[in-house]
């Protein structure tokens, strides 16, 4: 007896194979996202346009400006003569920050225990402003220490060392998150469409009059996508590793294992959505709302979970991407082993199995469902 599930599997593979455009999108779309994130959209900030208003014009102030120029974090775009020039400069977006060096800068630097310069920021882009401010702060701390020749010793000094991503490269940090989001999107959308499409075209009705069981339909339909999603994940991983140099410090086998578990959870979510929706449109919409948004916003991909309102923090516990993100960053950037990362795996397994079980249970092989 040939298992009925094999018939469904074969048919589903043919569907995938006969639809090269969807296949192309499944593989090209992630690459494009990574290219975009890798090259164009970066959270690193370089060459911040900076204007200088030097009211001191002393050797010390000139030295300070020179040092600023030689760092590639800043680009001196204007030398202002007057405070009144600041506002028009911001309005014309000639600079996003102004460093004001007071008239007695040199004198105070050598005689007083403390010196200050003023930094005026364009807060219209709060994110850039924050980052620029932090760069400048640490830059000034270092430079003034050099300038005052040890006169001004800071009692408590911070010597930052950033582990796992010493250059704070945002591609390293973004790619694991991107893998999480892309996998979720592909898995959930593809599977949610596969059942609702058949509901719409009426082929599901034809299947329902056969003795096939819900579990055979669902597993038969999902399994091919596990393979597809897995190949896709490998392609994304390889691409980001070889093109963008994103490290895989831990075990590749472990990462692959985590990926499979995550794919399983994502596909289950897709099946769950499609077992609850009637039309392809509704399924697609639900998949977008139910997977893409939470994965981007609530997974810790961009916005740290720790700084979210308490209620949202609770919500993040049911976002599968959050768990995979912990694992992917752990293995790829930190080289962490399984003993530190088994809990997310356990959760994803429970999550996936629960959704799958509910979908199979609720999936009736009749038109009443």
């Amino acid at each position: 007896m040939k298992p009925r599930i094999v018939a469904v599997l074969q048919k589903e593979f043919i569907h995938i194979w006969r639809d090269p455009y969807s296949l192309l999108i499944v593989f090209l779309f992630p690459m494009m996202m990574i290219l975009l994130y890798g090259y164009a959209i970066t959270f690193d900030i370089k060459y911040i346009p900076l204007a200088i208003l030097d009211q001191d014009r002393s050797p010390a102030s000139q030295q300070l400006v020179e040092k600023l120029t030689s760092s590639n974090y800043f680009r001196i775009t204007a030398r202002l003569q007057d405070r009144r020039a600041i506002e028009p400069g911001f309005l014309h977006r000639r600079m996003s920050a102004v460093l004001v060096i007071p008239p007695d800068f040199d004198r105070r630097l050598t005689s007083r225990p403390e010196t200050s310069v003023q930094l005026i920021m364009d807060g219209a882009n709060a994110n850039t402003a924050m980052i620029a401010m932090n760069y400048l702060k640490s830059f000034l701390t270092r430079t003034t220490l050099e300038l005052n020749q040890g006169l001004l010793a800071t009692p408590l000094e911070i010597e930052p060392r950033i582990w796992y991503n010493p250059d704070l490269k945002s591609t390293h940090f973004v790619v694991p998150g991107l893998i999480a989001i892309l996998m979720m999107m592909i898995c959930a959308m593809l599977t949610s469409l596969t059942i609702s499409r058949e509901r719409e075209t009426g082929t599901l009705e034809q299947i329902f009059v056969s003795p096939i069981r819900p579990v055979e339909i669902i597993i038969g339909k999902v399994a091919p996508y596990i393979l597809l999603a897995f190949l896709d994940a490998m392609a994304i991983l390889g691409f980001s590793h070889w093109v963008f140099g994103v490290p895989i410090r831990g075990s590749l086998a472990l990462l692959v294992f985590f990926m499979l578990i995550y794919i399983y959870a994502s596909l289950s979510l897709g099946v769950f959505i499609s077992s609850r929706t009637r039309t392809q449109q509704a399924a697609l919409f639900a998949a977008m709302l139910g997977t893409l948004l939470p994965s981007v916003l609530l997974s810790g991909f961009v916005f740290p979970i720790a700084s979210m309102p308490r209620v949202l923090q609770w919500v993040t516990y049911i976002v599968p991407a959050k768990y995979f993100l912990i694992q992917a960053r752990g293995v790829m950037l930190k080289g962490v082993g399984f003993d530190y990362l088994y809990l997310p795996t356990v959760f994803l397994l429970i999550f996936g199995t629960l959704l799958l079980a509910v979908s199979v249970k609720r999936f009736k092989t009749n038109l009443e469902g």
Binding site: V8, F208, V209, S210, T365
Partner: protein
Amino acid sequence: MKSMDNAYSVEVNDLTKKFGRFVAVDHISFYVQDGEIFGFLGANGAGKTTTIRMLCGLIRPTSGQGRVEGLDIFTQTEAIKQDIGYMSQKFSLYDDLTVEENLVFYGGIYGMPSSELSLACEAVIQRMDLVSQVKKLTRSLPAGWKQRLALSCAILHQPKILFLDEPTGGVDPISRRAFWDAIHQLAEGGTTIFVTTHYMDEAEYCNRLSIMHEGRIIALGSPMELKDRYQQPTVEQVFIDLVKPAKA
């Protein structure tokens, strides 16, 4: 239910289906004998499709009793599914699969073993004259061929009873004729045929007919009996005669 007699392929008593407050099928009773061609005649919305769907286990009846091949349509729907073939009103095969792949799939979901399946496919392809189309994508077939393929898929697992819901909608007269020839052949081979239609000429091909109107069966008998009873030359006239006063 008065009997478990196997001479009846379908036995229905007071079967009713309500969708909310709308009564789609209203206390109908009838039986279908083994091996006969039983026609369900009625306008759109008369309740034909709902009746077929209840018999196939696709929707749950609201009340009444029914048996298909001796199995209860409330409690044994899954067992019934092994014995029946069904062709829905809407063409519902996969456009992106070839003729052969569609056949293999529909045989497969009935759990047919590979060897038996390939023999059955071979036989049905010969019988339905699909040989020249086997490797073609279903999408590219003309409507008449698609219909033939749908019928092929429905009979592949050799069901005892075949439910056909308006099988010839949108098909040219020549193809319709060929289709009915195939139906007759199946019936001669012992398959019970339960067919709905609103083509009056097709009604004449049936052994017995039931005319449905607004959820009720308003007449039942062989085409001959009906024409005699209502003193009309054709089934079409019988139908119009019966439905008109009901509407007025």
